[in-house]
């Protein structure tokens, strides 16, 4: 069975729309917490794109996760594995990116709390009015 083109287009288009929504959140919403939320959506969407690029649809059979499962006859199972498994490299990069992204999110959250302690607000427009 061929991979239907409509499914691929729906996923790609929805990921692009999510990218746009997240960018709107970063640019136009006044609250810093909302901006942080939008940044997490943006990074998740970028990670989903990377995983989608690593996906494949083999000529026969269905794709397989990058884990060697059948270990009785190594000669044949490795050949089958290379022909059917999806690309593991984007998954490895995304795996570390998610955890590092969480650490950076934590750091930004601390910065936002500190900002609130110093300025008394997390609304960027009000901060602009205060500094005048």
């Amino acid at each position: 069975m061929e991979f239907p083109i409509i499914v691929a287009s729906v996923i790609v288009v929805s990921l692009y729309v999510n990218l746009g929504i997240a960018l709107y959140g970063i640019f136009a919403r006044p609250s810093l917490v909302k901006k942080l939320l939008a940044i997490t959506i943006l990074s998740d969407t970028a990670n989903a794109f990377a995983v989608l690029v690593g996906y494949r649809w083999p000529r026969t059979g269905t794709p397989q996760p990058p884990v060697l499962m059948n270990t009785t006859n190594y000669n044949e199972s490795i050949k089958y594995y290379v022909e059917h498994a999806v690309d593991p490299l984007p998954q490895a990069l995304v795996l570390t990116a998610i955890v590092i992204g969480l650490a950076v999110t934590l750091f930004i959250a601390f910065i936002i709390i500190q900002y609130y302690r110093l300025h008394g607000t997390v609304d960027v427009r009000k901060t602009k009015a205060l500094s005048r």
Partner: protein
């Protein structure tokens, strides 16, 4: 709707369309492809390959093999970034002490009982993910994230003061985290040190024997695939990730009054 907002929306739409056009021209290609890339074929075929002993990693799982063997140095420096972000977060809370004199505040007995059960169950799952990281999907990062959930639960349900009274203080968690990082470093240079002692050639981040470096971590111990350095790396990364996130999430739950005393 204001004029500036319309400007923002229009420019975002233009940006997204141009990005989609550029990536569909050169980056993405036909999705999904039938074949994987050449590099991925090499990674997949040498994840566990008993016919090429000098070119293989030592687990059944390709992602863990890439993370900790083929591209181990990348992950090492990403762990360093992680370390830096956690240290920077701690620096914001410098000098804040938590008084344990007040009575600990917690949730209802139902929530406490459920949390006591999960305190056993979730770390068990995390440990199994960490120990089987080279055989089934999983590894150090996943296990650390899963184990962090139980820390969030405990801090939210029992309250921070109870946790500190039970003996899980900030210096102890820092020690645990440093232990994990030292373990990662020692595993990375373990074969170099062993090579210096017995006088043979070895690389950093070496797992199995290479053509001019003939020493390796044990791959099989008594019919069990232990995966050489992959098991050690997963274990230490589990400890480091769990302790780092636990530290920061405990700092998060300190009341604002305690912090404002220090900042002024």
């Amino acid at each position: 709707m204001k004029k500036s907002e319309v400007c923002v929306i229009v420019s975002i739409i233009i940006f997204i369309f141009s990005l989609a056009y550029i990536t569909s021209l050169g980056g993405l290609g036909y999705l999904p492809p039938v074949d994987v890339r050449k590099l991925a074929q090499i990674y997949l075929s040498s994840t566990y390959n008993p016919f090429e002993p000098t070119n293989t990693s030592s687990g059944y799982e390709s992602v863990t093999a890439i993370v900790w063997d083929f591209r181990g140095l990348d992950t090492f420096f990403e762990t360093a970034v992680f370390y830096g972000a956690i240290i920077a977060s701690i620096a914001v809370y410098r000098g804040v002490s938590i008084s344990t004199k007040k009575k600990p505040i917690g949730m209802s007995p139902i929530a406490k009982t459920i949390t006591r059960l999960s305190t056993v169950l979730i770390p068990t799952v995390a440990a199994s993910i960490a120990f089987h990281g080279h055989l089934t999907p999983g590894g150090g990062f996943q296990a650390g994230s899963v184990a962090t959930v139980v820390i969030v639960l405990i801090v939210m349900v029992f309250g921070l003061r109870k946790v500190i009274l039970k003996g899980l203080t900030k210096p102890k968690i820092l020690l645990l985290r440093s232990l994990g990082l030292v373990g990662i470093g020692l595993t990375a240079i373990g074969l170099v040190l062993a090579g210096l002692v017995i006088g043979v050639n070895a690389y950093i981040f070496q797992n199995q024997a290479k053509p001019i470096a003939h020493i390796s971590y044990p791959m099989w111990i008594d019919d069990i695939l232990v995966g050489g350095s992959l098991l050690l790396f997963n274990l230490f990364e589990f400890v480091a990730v769990m302790a780092g996130f636990a530290l920061v999430l405990m700092l998060f739950s300190i009341e604002e009054e305690e912090v404002r005393k220090v900042i002024k």
